[in-house]
């Protein structure tokens, strides 16, 4: 037992530093034994007492060992003291280092400016992109407790975000207890109204019909008056809530506005409330007036066109926003709507065969697929920043080489490495701070420019702003950046051997070979990241080009569009509407320069709209059902858009109100139902009416990037009684769009001065809206790619020209010995190309990974497109060659005599 204790103590003594052990070791053992003897003779339970003593001694020895070692280290590496400087407080050191850094940087303005601009580009790009991420994706929606807000969709296997029927939403509102409240919105299409003005023609404004719970669900209260009550959820409740903007412009901020009225489409609505200026509709429309939505079952009287609502179990046209009850989750709400749909299915098996309801977080819904796009941009911006950091690190390494001697002397004089590193880091922080300041300005201007270029490209883009949190972000990026590019060179440069450094520079050969290798590694990384960005940009460019070139099935060239909405008061009679449109089309056609005039209920390539059932009997006698989109047209629709007529004929004067209902179907619908050639003459039912197919026309795209749509064209003249169709005019002319619009507006005023020519646009700009986000992405990726390319070129140039300076002697000797100039050039360029090749190899691997993400953005384009990879590599290779050629040419100018004499 005692032997074991002694062994433990001896082992513990071994923990002590050797010098200490040799001096006191045996003495310590004696003291331990003396003490143990005393304990053994005194204590009753001597065995456990002696073990306690042993363990206490071991603990003391361990403690002593640590304390002694720490003390020795301190003695060997004392906290450095500069001569003539008291050992500084860290903050005082920092202040002194900062002053020193500014002084040093001012002596070399070119270096400082290049470094600052490089970093400013990186920091600016990141801050700009982050400002978008911050306000579009991260920021909560501007409502009270926004996390409780959800959207309720009707979902079908083919469309997970279908609109809902009025009766379904009423059931949900009554039966789903997981919702505290639910607002119902008519936003199937934009509801507009002509607002009567006291002075001059009416103004077209946006109107949003909503249920009574819409405002309470969003927890907003009006600035003046009240919102709607449940018993006002009917089209004939003529009450209105004005937007703050309309109250401002139309009512001159009249505080007594409540009780006054506004005239919308010839109907007087009583103003019951005015909203606050901060309130914005979450679904993106910016209405000027809110009116109650019709929610009674059945079809309302036709006169109430504004708040029209056909509430059945079949008419999908409403949207809903609900607020979860306190303590309820999305999953609980989902479970309750699932239970509801099961009950409905039991009641109406056929209609609810495939129908589901879906509850989704409103934030998720609004941000939607902008998320991926934004994160790709963020990633690209980070790559740009990394490249910028590498470039500046490279610059700092060059300086570190120049300062090798100074560093060596200072180390030899006893300067501590920590202090030297701190000083270098301070220098990089000063540069980063300046870069951050300039970068913030770039970011501020950049965000403004981005939004100006592409305002429709982002959801919630109105929320994008430049605020304090961004500045905080810029500060953090700056500090991280400073540390990133500063630490490497600082640590590397401080690790110099004094005598080596002196000899090295004295001999004038390759000083700091390690540093040169490090620089090559940096440039290699730069090139690989630049390649990733170039491939990313390339994939997007190809996607964009192929999208632009996609055959939409019609020609938008020279087509100008505008909307004309007929007031239900004046044009309540279908015959009057038919006459108006026919007359106006006739007058348009007579205008100078106008070659074709037509009107349609929905423009082509403008998204899905009016999907109706298409019931027909198949060729073998089976009743079948398809779905197709209904377009009500008037005038020479086909020739305006250059859609080809494939079979049969187009509508003509023989298709009157009294003759058989005629329809023209698109090629894909004809193929799907009866076969392209045999479809003419067949009949089908849609919207409770039987139609006869009189012609088959070419397919047009469903949207600007989408697939062909199955379309049924109906004649407005024959179908005007179904509803007051809001027609969009499309005219083709050989004169500039602005003149066409002016002429059309004049003609409209002559025909009926109460009508508004609304939203005049060229067909090309209608399509451009759909390309906006792609263009936005493309622009940014291309910019990032260009920056990356430039920075990579600067990096290659820097490394090669330094290498030439270093190798002057060797090159001089080779030239003196008769080497060909081309050989010399090739050897310099070769070095650059090796660096580039390695970079390209790594970059290609990275780009393959990046491409995976891009696949979700670039529809229909192979993200591993070899052409894109090849072009990106070629571009990069060319830039590297150019960047390397300049130093290579300089190498051949080396005068051997001079070089050899200079030593």
């Amino acid at each position: 037992m005692t032997k074991l204790q002694v062994k433990v103590i001896v082992a513990s003594i071994r923990l002590l530093p050797r010098s200490f052990r040799e001096r006191f070791g045996s003495e310590m053992l004696s003291a331990y034994l003396d003490q143990r003897d005393a304990i053994l003779s005194a204590a009753r339970d001597s065995r456990s007492a002696s073990w306690r003593h042993t363990l206490r001694t071991v603990a003391g020895l361990v403690r002593a060992s640590l304390a002694i070692r720490f003390r020795e280290r301190r003695r060997e590496h004392p906290i450095p003291e500069y001569r003539n400087a008291p050992r500084g407080h860290p903050m005082r050191n920092f202040a002194r280092d900062t002053r020193h850094a500014v002084r040093v940087l001012r002596t070399r303005p070119a270096f400082a400016i290049v470094a600052i601009i490089t970093l400013a580009l990186g920091i600016g790009a990141n801050t700009a992109v982050f400002s978008v991420v911050n306000s579009v994706i991260l920021a909560p929606l501007p409502y009270d407790e926004p996390e409780q807000l959800v959207r309720v969709y009707t979902a079908y296997p083919t469309n997970a975000k279908q609109f809902s029927t009025g009766l379904d939403l009423l059931d949900i509102r009554e039966q789903v207890t997981a919702f505290a409240s639910m607002g119902i919105v008519y936003n199937y299409r934009e509801v507009g109204a002509d607002l009567a003005m006291t002075d001059g023609p009416p103004r077209r404004i946006r109107v949003l019909p909503v249920s009574a719970d819409y405002f309470p669900t969003l927890r907003v209260t009006p600035l003046l008056g009240r919102t709607f009550a449940r018993d006002e959820e009917r089209g004939d409740a003529l009450v209105a809530v004005l937007s703050h903007e309309l109250w401002n412009t139309h009512m001159a901020r009249d505080p007594g506005v409540i009780g006054r009225s506004v005239e919308l489409d010839g109907v007087r609505y009583e103003v019951v409330g005015v909203m606050r200026p901060t309130f914005a509709d979450p679904l993106g429309s910016q209405p000027s007036v809110w009116i109650p939505q019709e929610l009674r079952p059945g079809k309302p009287p036709a006169a109430l066109a504004l708040a029209r609502g056909n509430n059945s179990r079949q008419n999908h046209y409403l949207s809903a926003i609900a607020r979860l009850a306190r303590g309820s989750s999305v999953a609980q709400a989902q479970a309750q709507v699932d239970a509801l749909v099961r009950r409905l299915k039991a009641q109406y098996p056929r209609q609810y065969e495939q129908r589901r309801f879906r509850v989704a977080s409103l934030h998720e819904d609004v941000v939607g697929d902008a998320r991926t796009a934004t994160y790709v941009l963020m990633g690209a911006a980070v790559l740009v920043l990394l490249i910028a950091c590498l470039n500046v690190a490279n610059l700092f390494l060059v300086r570190a080489l120049a300062q090798l001697k100074e560093t060596a002397i200072r180390t030899a004089l006893g300067a501590a490495r920590a202090r030297l590193v701190a000083q270098r880091l301070t220098e990089s922080l000063v540069v980063a701070t300046a870069g951050g300041l300039v970068g913030s300005v770039i970011a501020y201007l950049g965000v403004k420019a981005l939004l100006a270029v592409s305002p429709e490209s982002l959801p919630r883009s109105e929320a994008v702003s430049f605020d304090l949190s961004l500045l905080g972000f810029a500060v953090i990026v700056t500090i991280v950046t400073g540390a990133l590019f500063g630490a490497g060179p600082a640590v590397r440069a401080s690790r110099v051997n004094a005598s080596d450094a002196m000899n090295d520079s004295a001999r004038g050969t390759t000083g700091g070979r390690g540093i040169r290798q490090l620089r090559s590694v940096l440039v290699t990384s730069q090139i690989s990241m630049a390649l990733m960005l170039l491939v990313g940009a390339g994939v997007l460019i190809r996607a964009f080009i192929s999208e632009q070139r996609r055959d939409l099935g019609f020609s938008p060239a020279g087509v100008v569009t505008f909307e004309v909405h007929l007031s239900p008061m004046t044009y309540g009679e279908p015959a009057r509407r038919v006459t108006f449109h026919r007359t106006y089309l006739e007058r348009l056609r007579s205008l100078p320069g106008l070659t074709h005039a037509s009107a349609t209920s929905w423009l082509p390539a403008n998204g899905e709209y009016h999907v109706w059932g298409y019931e027909y009997v198949s060729d073998n006698g089976e009743p079948k059902s398809e779905s197709a989109q209904i377009r009500v047209v008037d005038g020479s629709f086909l020739s305006t858009f250059e859609v080809p007529l494939l079979h049969g004929r187009f509508f003509d004067e023989s298709d009157r109100e009294s003759t058989a209902q005629a329809a023209i179907i698109s090629q894909s619908l004809a193929k799907k139902t009866h076969g392209e050639g045999t479809a003419v003459g067949k009949v089908f039912r849609t919207g409770d009416t039987t139609f006869t197919v009189i012609g088959v026309v070419g397919d047009v795209a469903n949207d600007a990037r989408g697939v062909d749509a199955k379309v049924v064209y109906l004649s407005h003249r024959q179908f005007a009684s179904d509803r007051n169709w809001a027609l969009t005019y499309a005219v083709k002319s050989s004169i500039p769009a602005q003149e066409t619009i002016a002429l059309a507006r004049g003609e409209l005023a002559r025909l009926d001065p109460a009508l508004v020519l609304y939203r005049p646009r060229t067909m090309e700009s209608v399509l451009a809206v759909h390309h906006a986000r792609d263009r936005f992405m493309l622009l940014l990726m291309a910019t990032f790619g260009a920056i990356a390319l430039t920075l990579a070129a600067v990096g290659v140039y820097g490394v090669l020209s330094y290498a030439v300076t270093q190798r002057r002697r060797e090159i001089g000797v080779r030239i003196a010995l008769g080497a060909q100039l081309t050989q010399v050039r090739a050897s310099v360029l070769g070095e650059g190309l090796i660096v580039a090749a390695v970079g390209v190899a790594f970059g290609a691997i990275g780009a393959l990974g990046l491409a995976r993400v891009l696949r979700s953005l670039a529809l229909g384009v192979n993200p591993h497109d070899p052409v894109v990879f090849a072009i990106a590599t070629l571009v990069l290779g060319a830039v590297v060659l150019i960047a390397g050629y300049l130093p290579a040419r300089r190498a051949t100018r080396v005068n051997p005599l001079e070089v050899l004499q200079s030593d």
């Binding site: 006191f24 003291a31 003396d34």
Partner: protein, 120 residues
């Protein structure tokens, strides 16, 4: 050559364990365990010295010239265990005295007295 006269105040305040060692060596010449024993007897209620701390303190005080090694006195234990004897130098005694005075002044201060009074 000793560097230069060192003021005892430079060492103040003395860590408690250092004070134990220095105060028992101020008047006597003692070896390792004897120091522990003497300190425990003379200063009851103080933290007990362990071997590791003891020799760390001895090593430091030798370096600081607060104590010195002396020849083994006659009448010590006579087995084959290695024992070295130490005693305080003049500087060491001065430091111990200065620390004792510091503690005394501390105890005599009205603030401390009030603390002691309220405790009783």
């Amino acid at each position: 050559m000793p560097p230069k006269a060192t003021a005892p105040s430079r060492f103040l305040p003395l860590p408690p364990l250092d004070f134990q060692v220095l105060s028992v060596l101020a008047s006597r010449e003692l070896h390792g365990y004897a120091i522990v024993q003497a300190a425990a007897e003379a200063l009851p209620g103080q933290p007990r010295l362990d071997v590791g701390s003891l020799y760390r303190i001895i090593s430091r005080m030798l370096d600081d010239r607060l104590i010195r090694e002396v020849k083994a006195p006659r009448g010590g234990p006579s087995d084959n265990r290695v024992r070295r004897y130490y005693t305080a130098t003049d500087l060491g005694r001065a430091v111990a005295r200065a620390e004792a005075q510091r503690l005394q002044a501390l105890l005599a201060s009205p603030v401390t007295l009030r603390l002691l009074e309220t405790e009783g």
